[in-house]
Symmetry: C2
Subunit: 392 residues, 2 copies
């Protein structure tokens, strides 16, 4: 590995975190602004629950894993206060979005609002052991499990029975959430959940013929020949594969780690744009025309999550393919996503790698994938380098 952990550490501490510290705090009404333009100016004041929960997680985790920086603790609690006050309906489900003042805009139709709230409050409890944080995290987690067989509930538009599908995103997130909330849950619950989600991800959604993971399958895992059934989301898969590697490490299951890496590399081979570089946002497993107009775009989270997966894969297996791919993706990221002029990274590039939307944040991009990814890559490369020093 010719790339050193230090540049990832510096990028996190000197570029990314300061950008959000400086621009994202709503000092008047609480919570975080995430709609920040290229320079960091707020261009919209709505508050999206995914991104509030995720930013709580980010600053709490930085405090926990990097440095006990009081400002980071304050920022995490600043978001938590806002979300405790305004984020939930009477049933404890998290709204999708709120206006600047905290009034609900969009109903709790999206179970990932709950996932990221649980993750945020779970991380906050690690650094400030207030019972209310633990309660919110565990109650939300139980709600997620209760809703997991019908995550859209009354908001689903599917006609019952004709073509029941299940979606990859929830079991994927649960792979990560089970470890994120381990400190709050019974060991039995965690062990059982891990077994279930690993099976779902690696057997039910995995398609043998292609060696890839499908975004949607029939309830029994069968392939369904429709737009949703043919859809592949390379970034999703590769992100899930590092969640699985983390679980493989915990379970001391080398075979699981190797399979996860194999699927990640299959996906990268299938999803890499041979003409322009970068990883496509969506693919059709049969190569048929897609419904997603944004299919060929290059998104920040896809690329940083891939880097994490490759770093972990290299750390755990020493795979040469991992090392090579790491350098290719590293090079793509540093030459395309990073904004030398105003800091932070662009989120959305077109197929050719040109900036499509110059904002640093919005409805879906906040303070999460980049800092989490940089932290993971930094820590993983550090371990690899230490190991090298030891062996030489």
């Amino acid at each position: 590995m010719n790339i050193y952990h230090d540049i990832y550490k510096k990028e996190l501490l000197n570029n990314i975190l300061p950008f959000w510290e400086k621009h994202s705090i709503d000092k008047t009404h609480g919570g975080y602004f995430t709609c920040l333009d290229r320079e960091g100016k707020v261009y919209d004041t709505d508050k999206f629950a995914w991104l509030q929960g995720r930013q709580i997680w980010t600053f709490a985790t930085m405090y926990h894993q990097v440095e006990q920086n009081q400002q980071w603790l304050d920022i995490a609690k600043h978001g938590a206060d806002f979300m405790m006050k305004y984020g939930r309906d009477a049933a404890g489900d998290w709204y999708f979005s709120l206006n600047r003042q905290g009034q609900p805009l969009i109903q709790p139709y999206n179970i990932f609002s709950d996932c990221f709230a649980a993750m945020g409050f779970g991380a906050l409890y690690k650094i400030d052991a207030q019972e209310q944080y633990a309660e919110i995290a565990t109650k939300t987690f139980q709600n997620i499990l209760k809703k997991s067989n019908d995550p859209k509930g009354i908001y689903t538009k599917a006609f019952p029975g004709t073509r029941p599908l299940k979606n990859f995103a929830l079991p994927m997130i649960l792979c990560n959430l089970s470890l994120e909330l381990e400190h709050l849950l019974d060991k039995g619950v965690v062990d059982e959940l891990i077994e279930k989600v690993v099976y779902e991800v690696m057997d039910v959604f995995y398609q043998k013929e292609s060696g890839l993971i499908l975004e949607n399958v029939a309830l029994n895992g069968d392939f369904v020949d429709c737009f949703e059934g043919r859809s592949i989301n390379p970034g999703h898969t590769i992100e899930a594969m590092w969640f699985i590697m983390d679980l493989g490490k915990r379970l001391k299951n080398e075979k699981l780690i190797n399979r996860a890496l194999e699927i990640a590399l299959n996906t990268l081979n299938a999803g890499w744009d041979k003409e322009n570089g970068g990883i496509f946002y969506f693919l059709d497993v049969d190569g048929r025309p897609m419904q997603q107009l944004e299919w060929d775009q290059k998104l920040w989270w896809v690329h940083i999550e891939t880097l994490v997966c490759l770093a972990k894969g290299y750390e755990l297996t020493g795979s040469e393919a991992c090392r090579k791919w790491f350098e290719i993706v590293h090079e793509y990221i540093w030459s395309h996503f990073r904004d030398e002029q105003y800091g932070e990274w662009f989120g959305y590039l077109n197929r050719e790698g040109k900036v499509l939307i110059p904002a640093k944040g919005g409805k879906w991009k906040g303070c999460f994938h980049i800092p989490r990814g940089l932290l993971q890559v930094w820590k993983t490369l550090e371990k690899i380098e230490e190991h090298k020093l030891k062996t030489f």
Copy 2:
């Protein structure tokens, strides 16, 4: 005008209609396939209500306005039979999509399924005066009016009261539907509806400061500073402006026609991509970052609807700006959207004008905008040419 009606007539009769006649008929289960790849092969068999209703309309209208071709009548009735059998729920609302056999897939969450069904059956009644067709069209139309203040009904995700918005698409479609169904409705109903929708489109959604039409406004027409409130859809606006010109003609209201043309030209000036040519899919009225990742793409319907608007604008006003723009848009369409090799037009180009998705049809593109537009341009240019001959 240096472009003659004949090339539009030929394009309609020799390229577009034969493509759909040949590839879109499901002889086994009824209805139309719309997911046709570049060559016309079926790549997905789901049936989308918008596109079923629209294709009924297209073939019925061709029979009515172009030629009493028995095959066209048969195709229109082929789709109508399928939709009568499978298209509606018990309340008479039209499902969004069905599987190949006609079982419902997606609930009737989308009022435009109803709009295009009404339009299709209304057109069919003109060429085959069966009472059941009239009944379906009028009953569906009454349902639309009933739902028009809350078109998403139980499927809305908006939290009641925080930020009530209304959307431009429904009053826009009603401008057209009111004329399409005129033969089935009481004159009083039509007159009242027209007055209402013209006011909505030209006053409520029109924004004085920008001279443009907003996609979403507050219930009282005020600008709302949020993603939805700042959104401009140039294709939508320009299409609506030719609906308004048609109404202006009917109402003999020259002022209304002139205003519609002015708004269309404002929109074209704002929406034209000065670097690459073509009309953007979305804009933010304040130039802020957008949430639509597909904002810079060039879509077939936007361009053909613009051509219709410009042809009508020129016919009705003789505007020199219209003539110039017509030639620019004509040139862009013929050199970018048309597939010389396999017929029909591509639907989705990237910003640079390269093909993004090579299919000829899908979930949203069927047999509608292009044939309707070609017919309108052909007939309008014919009138302009006749008029010229008379004046020389």
